[in-house]
Amino acid sequence: MSQPAVNCPNCGAVVRFRWSGAVQTTCEYCRSILVRRDLNLEKVGEVGDLPREVSPIQIGTEGIFHNKAFQVVGRILYEYEDGGWNEWHIVFNDGVSGWLSDAQLEYTVSFLIKPPEVLPSADQIARARLFFWGGVRYEVTSVTRAHYRGVAGELPFEYWDKKDLVFADLRTADARFGTIDYSEAVPLLFLGEAVEFDDLHLKNLREFDVVGAAGQMAKTAVSGLNCPSCGAPLTLSAAGHSLSVVCGQCHSILDAKDPNLQVIEKFEAKQSIKPVIPLGSRGKVEGTEYDVIGFQVRSTDADDMPDSWDEYLLFNRYKGFRYLTLYNGHWNYVKTVPASPERIQVGKKPGAKLMGHTYVLFDTELATTTYVLGEFPWRVHVGEKNGTKDFIAVPRILSCEISEQETVWSLGEYMTGAQVWQAFQLPGQPPPAEGIFANQPAPFAGKASSMWRVCLNLLSAVILLAIIVYMVAGQESVFRHQYSFSPRSGAEASFVTDTFEVKGHPSNVEIAIHTDLRNNWAYFGMALINESTGQGYDFGREVSYYTGDDGEGSRNDSVIVPSVVPGRYYLRVEPEMDKNAQSMVYTLEIKRSVPSAAFFWIAAVLLLIPPALTTWRAAKFEGQRWSQSDFSHRDESDS
């Protein structure tokens, strides 16, 4: 970047240009606003007094965006009724110029582009209007009427005397960002994206009254004041950002922008509420230090059941505002999202899509602010009502707050009380969690699916084992003989077979019976007897076979005698039939070491029990979770 230098036409001081394309700059010494006219500079005005600097960015700050280095060379400061924001003019190493916006420490980078279509005029633009550019859905999330407050440094155009202006901010579901700027006769379109402070890798930042990197603030950046109503001491930790501060003694809500802290209103509190995290506490969440600067209680009376939750406002002077919410011992760490989630349908339920994640609507409430304490970057008001919608994708919760002025989306992630206590180094124990919260992680949810995968592997092992056993099993036939039996003969039915050798290690023996029965039955009382020891295995088998439309039974049957030790054996057989039945021919076959499928089935069932139990517990947990939602069975039956 070349740095040509010229002399200020007002005071003669050297004015250096960081960017050769600058049209306007300011003299650092006499604060003249200078505009280039050919080779000369012309003074067109003077920079007025700017408000207290609260942005960590300053002219000269360097950073990286999409792997390209940039430097901050200029600034426009805007103000509107509820605050202000900076548009920092940034110039990249390749000479490209863009804008780094800092609105209450939420950052976006955008570039001037040629609009893909004719943009609507300022009186036609309104919230919720949609644009589709390059296949991306942009939604107008706010229309702000602001006024010029001041300029500094180098700008790509003349900009110093403009008054009231209209800006329309656009968001997408994937944190892209746009602004329609009505400061010119033809609206200008800037497109870019929201960025996290850390992702910009900023250096040469403004040093406040503290020294330290972002997230490592010293404990001195506060303003000490007194309540004009009762004289109680007040603390302003986010001076310059806060719009309201509430006196904990007399419950006066004060205008934090007013140097005299004018009383806006007083609210009646039945009793003073002591936050479980004291205001002024400092804690480290996700690697960043935050101060607890505000506390509010909000309530609903859905289904005539009054319910309330606490919200803690956290502040870091580089990364801005975050929230901790507490309901029945369940915590969420929440940040506003610079996006407009796409509304979708998830099965039968409404949903929202944000940054690739799908969220399902959980409940819709009307929240009323019932108690406030500390400071806030908005104008708090006890009794203020906002419509809220909560969408969940466990462990995240996406909340939408709708007021007359704006729609604010925020994203929360579940935290346990123990995590909060550790983060803020709080004494004692956190309030115990009661019931199941909307986005509380299910203790078995992830386990069930991974357990089923392990189960699948084990079941595959069972099948493989069964194949191997059936392949290598001996199934040696040790005896086979055909017999006949006639019940009408009246002769002794029982007999013994020839002896046969059963070899090998103790294993089973299968005795199979094959008959020629037809519409008849037979019973075989049998004993497998060891010839030398006299040990026997006594059992009976019924065989019946009937034909016809409702035929049943089988001509064959078998029995497995377990754990038979090797030796010489014989069978004692006593067939029995109806006394008037025809004679029967049957074959007895005896096999050694016959595989049994029963134990493989038992193994399979035993393997299925743990994942099935885990799935059941997860389903039960989900049932309890959703019983608190708009989609509980109770609500469905009511409707």
Partner: protein, 61 residues
Amino acid sequence: MRHPLYAIYGIMVLAFASFAQYEGWSLTRVNEVKNIPKTVRDNPGAYRSHYGGYYRYMGGK
């Protein structure tokens, strides 16, 4: 392995199934009888089976 306890349990179940196969276990109800006299070979009718000696109607048509 994400579920070591379940994996150990699964391996034990597989070992149980393998052992049951090797030992030739069976779910069939079989009475073990000790000291059956050798005379059974000569006089099979004298042996009283645990399952014998009573009439069974088999549901025939």
